[in-house]
Symmetry: C2
Subunit: 143 residues, 2 copies
């Protein structure tokens, strides 16, 4: 569905969101532990997300990654778009480059509906929406 990189990215961002509630920052090491990912790999991914303006960071002691109010309102769709591009939302289900209503692949119509479904779902899922459930241990970011 999405790349492994993107899965890590979403999990990391949800963790950063949770930890950003009380204006605190969180380091790569802690993030890697929380989501059970290779530390240098998630560092790269967060670096990339930082460049694209989806996460904030500061260097030095007490530094780390964090989200502001606006950041907490970003959706999972924004993350997917930043990492995997819009292939999931607009690409052809059978891999055709020119697939469209005018020149459809056999399952074009069906895929349009499915993709729309996925897109809406990811757009409605905001980074800040899961903080409480995560804190309560009702939802998990690893295993």
């Amino acid at each position: 569905m999405v790349s492994k990189t993107c899965e890590y990215a979403i999990r990391a961002m949800l963790f950063v969101a949770q930890k950003s509630k009380n204006d605190s920052k969180v380091g790569v090491k802690q993030i890697a532990k929380a989501i059970d990912s290779p530390e240098p790999f998630i560092a790269k991914i967060l670096q990339d997300l930082g460049k694209k303006g989806l996460v904030l960071s500061s260097k030095g002691p007490t530094g780390g990654f964090y989200l502001d109010k606006a950041g907490l309102k970003k959706s999972l769709a924004d993350i997917v778009n930043a990492i995997d591009g819009d292939k999931l939302f607009t690409g052809c289900g059978l891999g055709l480059k020119s697939c469209s209503a005018k020149m459809p692949c056999p399952v074009h119509e069906e895929f349009v509906v499915v993709r729309k479904h996925i897109k809406v779902m990811l757009q409605n899922a905001k980074l800040g929406d899961y903080n409480t459930a995560l804190e309560l241990g009702e939802k998990y970011l690893k295993r």
Copy 2:
């Protein structure tokens, strides 16, 4: 969504289905041309699908790949399952191994619905369903 191999597989099978209508067979060369895929690669894929009982073949002159009545009733879900496994239908959207209702990832519930949607759609799409549209040139398998 599905692997590139799987995209080729589906397109090839839809083409074979179309050509199987009047009990004729179709060679790898013709299939590769029709779906715009590397010939040796689609040969491998079809070989694999043959082993798994999803397509029939015969060697020698006038030989090739074909589908019988039962084969034409197989669904795209069967192809996806044979090539990519059931990850698309049952895997966690965020890549967690133990994600389930008891121990859900943050988007577990939403993904259950989306995956069900995809599964139903692919199960309802039978290989034989597109023959007429393909013949009429209303749907495409390449470009």
